[in-house]
C-alpha cells in the first residue's frame, strides 16, 4: 500500500520524526561536521585548533608515507576478502545444500562466533598462535616426530625446532581479520545461493557439464549479487580495522585506522587525523559507489 504524505497527519509525523532527526543531527552530523572542519585547521599551541581553511593536512595525507599505508591497508583488506570468499563459498554451498534438519544449526554454528565478544575472540586467537601456543606446539611436535623418524632411518636429525613467528606480523593480521570476518562473508553468500533455482544446476549437469564447470559457469554468475554483497560486507570493515592490526600486528603491520588513532592519542595532531579520517570515508563511499554501479549493469546469466 502506498505511503502517506506527511501533511495528511502532521501531528503523527512530528511525533515519529522528531526523535530520530534530532539525534541524527546533533549526535551524528554535528560531530562529523566538527571533524570535517578540523581537517582544514591546524594546531595552535597544545590544545587549541584554528580553522584556517588550509589543505595542508590533505596534502600531507597523500604523501607516500601515508599513501603507502593506505594502499597496504587496501591490499590487506582485499587479501582478507579473497581468502574469506574462497573459504566461505564452499561453506555457504554446504549449508545451502544441507538437509532441512541440519541447515539452521550450521548457520547458527557460523554465526555464534560473531556474537562472541570481539576482544575475547582476538585474544583467544593470540593464545593459539603464540610462541608457545598450540599451533606452534603442534607443529613442533610434528617436527620432532619427523626428526625422530629421520634418526630411525639413519639420517641426521633436523635442527632444533624454532617456533614460527605467527604473531606480531602481517601474517597474523591477515589471519586475525579472516578469523573475525569469515561469518560476515558466509551469510550473504548463503542468502544468494539459497535463492538460486536448483533446477538450473541440474539442467547444466544433465547437459554434460562437470561439477566444477557448472559451478563456474552457472552458480557463480547467478550468485554474483550475493557475492558482491559479501565482498562489501567484508572489505569495508576490514579496511577500517583497528583492533586486529593493533593487537596482532608488528611495527610494520600498521593499517590506516592505527595511523588515525595515533594522531588523536600520541601524536596529538587532530587536524591531520581528521583529514585522514575523511579520506578513509571518501574511499569507502567510492567503494560503495563502485558496487552499486556494478549492480546497475544487468548480469546476463545465460
Amino acid at each position: 500500500m502506498a505511503e502517506q504524505d506527511w501533511k495528511t497527519s502532521k501531528r503523527t509525523f512530528a511525533t515519529v520524526s522528531t526523535g530520530p532527526l534530532f539525534w541524527t543531527l546533533v549526535f551524528f552530523l554535528v560531530p562529523m561536521a566538527f571533524v570535517w572542519f578540523y581537517s582544514f585547521g591546524r594546531n595552535v599551541g597544545l590544545t587549541e585548533i584554528e580553522i584556517v581553511g588550509t589543505l595542508d593536512n590533505y596534502k600531507r595525507a597523500t604523501e607516500w608515507l601515508y599513501l603507502s599505508i593506505f594502499l597496504k591497508s587496501l591490499a590487506v583488506a582485499g587479501l582478507v576478502t579473497l581468502i574469506c570468499l574462497i573459504i566461505g563459498f564452499p561453506v555457504a554451498m554446504a549449508i545451502t545444500f544441507a538437509s532441512e534438519k541440519w541447515r539452521p544449526w550450521l548457520l547458527l554454528g557460523i554465526m555464534l562466533p560473531f556474537w562472541t565478544n570481539l576482544l575475547i575472540r582476538t585474544y583467544a586467537l593470540m593464545i593459539v598462535l603464540g610462541q608457545q601456543g598450540y599451533v606452534n606446539q603442534g607443529l613442533g611436535a610434528i617436527w620432532g616426530g619427523a626428526s625422530w623418524f629421520k634418526t630411525l632411518v639413519g639420517l641426521q636429525p633436523l635442527d632444533t625446532w624454532e617456533p614460527l613467528p605467527l604473531l606480531y606480523n602481517n601474517f597474523a593480521v591477515v589471519l586475525g581479520l579472516v578469523y573475525v570476518h569469515l561469518p560476515f562473508m558466509v551469510l550473504p553468500l548463503y542468502s544468494a545461493l539459497d535463492r538460486l533455482d536448483k533446477s538450473l544446476i541440474e539442467a547444466s549437469l544433465d547437459l554434460g557439464a562437470g561439477h566444477f564447470r557448472t559451478l563456474m559457469k552457472i552458480v557463480v554468475p547467478l550468485a554474483a549479487p550475493g557475492i558482491l554483497a559479501g565482498v562489501m560486507i567484508t572489505l569495508i570493515p576490514a579496511l577500517g580495522a583497528y583492533l586486529t592490526p593493533d593487537l596482532m600486528g608488528g611495527t610494520d603491520s600498521q593499517m590506516i585506522a592505527n595511523v588515525i588513532e595515533r594522531q588523536f592519542k600520541r601524536a596529538n595532531d587532530w587536524p591531520f587525523g581528521a583529514a585522514l579520517s575523511f579520506l578513509l570515508i571518501y574511499a569507502m563511499f567510492a567503494l560503495i559507489a563502485l558496487q552499486s554501479l556494478r549492480r546497475k549493469t544487468p548480469v546476463d546469466a545465460r
Binding site: 547458527l108 576482544l119 579496511l239 583497528y242 585506522a257
Partner: protein
C-alpha cells in the same frame, strides 16, 4: 555420527560429499578452537597460557574478587542496557517514519540515518572524541552519569541497525489491519499500539538483541569516548593484553562466552532456530 561415511548421493547433495564435509568441519574447527582453548586454559593452574599444569578453578575465584573486572563488566552492561533501550525507541520511530510517510528530502534522510552503519568505526570514534571535547562534555559525574558520553555514542551507532531490522518487518505489515482498527474507532496511537506494535514485536526483540550485542561488543568507539574510570570490559581486556594478561581474564572471558551461548539459546527458544538463522 556418520560424518565421513561414503553414502552414495544425488548430484545435488553436495553436503554429503567427503571433501565438502571435511571443509566445513575444518572451518568450524578453525572458528571454535581458539575459544575452546581459551575456555580450557581458564582452568589451567598456571599463570601463563602455556603448558597444562593442572586443573583448578582458583582463577574463577580470583575473577570474582577482581574489583577492576567487576567494574568494567558493570560498565559494559549498564551502557548496553541504556543504549539498547534508547536505540530501540529511536530506531523504531525512525523505521516507522520512513515506512509510513512521504516527505521532502526523504531519500537524503534515509541515507543519512544509515550512515553510521557504513562509516568506519574509527571515524565515528574520532568524531565523538572531537565532539565531546569541543562541546566540553563534563566528565566528573558520578556513576552512572559518567558513562553518558559512551552511552550517547553507542545509541548513535546502534539505532540505525534497529531501524533496519524493524523496517524489514514493517514491510510485511498488512496496512489494512491498521485501517481496520481505525474503522472500528481507534485513533492513531491506539491503532499503533494495538495492531502495529504486536506485528513488529519479533523485530523489536531481535533489534534489541542486536543493539545489546553491538554495544557490549564494541571496542573502538568506546575506546575513544571513555575517560578514566569508565573502562568497559573490552577496553579492560585490551589494556591487559597489551600489558600482560592476568589469568582471571580467561575465567571472565569464559563466563562471557557461556553467557553468549545461553542468551542465544534463550533467543532460539523464543523465536525458533530458523528465524534467528535467517535474520542476519
Amino acid at each position: 555420527m556418520p560424518l565421513f561415511t561414503r553414502t552414495p548421493h544425488a548430484p545435488l547433495e553436495y553436503s554429503k560429499t567427503l571433501w565438502m564435509r571435511s571443509w566445513v568441519t575444518a572451518v568450524m574447527l578453525f572458528l571454535y578452537m581458539p575459544l575452546v582453548v581459551l575456555m580450557a586454559f581458564s582452568f589451567n593452574d598456571s599463570k601463563r597460557n602455556v603448558v597444562w599444569r593442572g586443573f583448578t578453578t582458583k582463577y574463577y575465584a580470583k575473577a570474582w574478587e577482581n574489583d577492576q573486572l567487576w567494574g568494567a563488566m558493570m560498565n559494559s552492561l549498564t551502557i548496553a542496557a541504556f543504549a539498547t533501550i534508547f536505540s530501540l525507541i529511536i530506531g523504531t520511530l525512525a523505521a516507522v517514519m520512513l515506512w509510513r510517510f512521504r516527505f521532502p528530502l526523504k531519500g537524503a534522510v534515509d541515507g543519512t540515518i544509515s550512515l553510521p552503519i557504513i562509516v568506519p568505526e574509527i571515524c565515528l570514534g574520532v568524531a565523538f572524541l572531537v565532539f565531546f571535547s569541543k562541546v566540553g562534555w563534563p566528565t566528573g559525574f558520578v556513576w552512572p552519569f559518567n558513562l553518558s558520553a559512551i552511552i550517547i555514542a553507542h545509541i548513535t551507532f546502534c539505532f540505525p541497525f534497529v531501524a533496519m531490522v524493524v523496517r524489514a518487518r514493517l514491510a510485511t505489515f498488512n496496512r489494512e489491519q491498521e485501517e481496520a482498527a481505525k474503522d472500528l474507532g481507534a485513533g492513531e496511537w491506539q491503532a499503533f499500539r494495538d495492531v502495529l506494535i504486536p506485528h513488529i514485536k519479533p523485530a523489536l526483540i531481535s533489534g534489541s538483541l542486536l543493539a545489546f550485542t553491538l554495544s557490549l561488543d564494541d571496542f573502538v568507539i568506546t575506546f575513544f569516548t571513555s575517560t578514566p574510570g569508565t573502562d568497559t570490559f573490552p577496553v579492560l581486556v585490551y589494556s591487559l593484553v597489551k600489558r600482560g594478561i592476568t589469568p582471571d581474564i580467561n575465567a571472565a572471558s569464559t563466563i562471557l562466552i557461556l553467557l553468549t551461548v545461553v542468551l542465544t539459546a534463550v533467543a532460539l527458544k523464543l523465536q525458533g532456530v530458523k528465524s534467528i538463522a535467517g535474520s542476519h
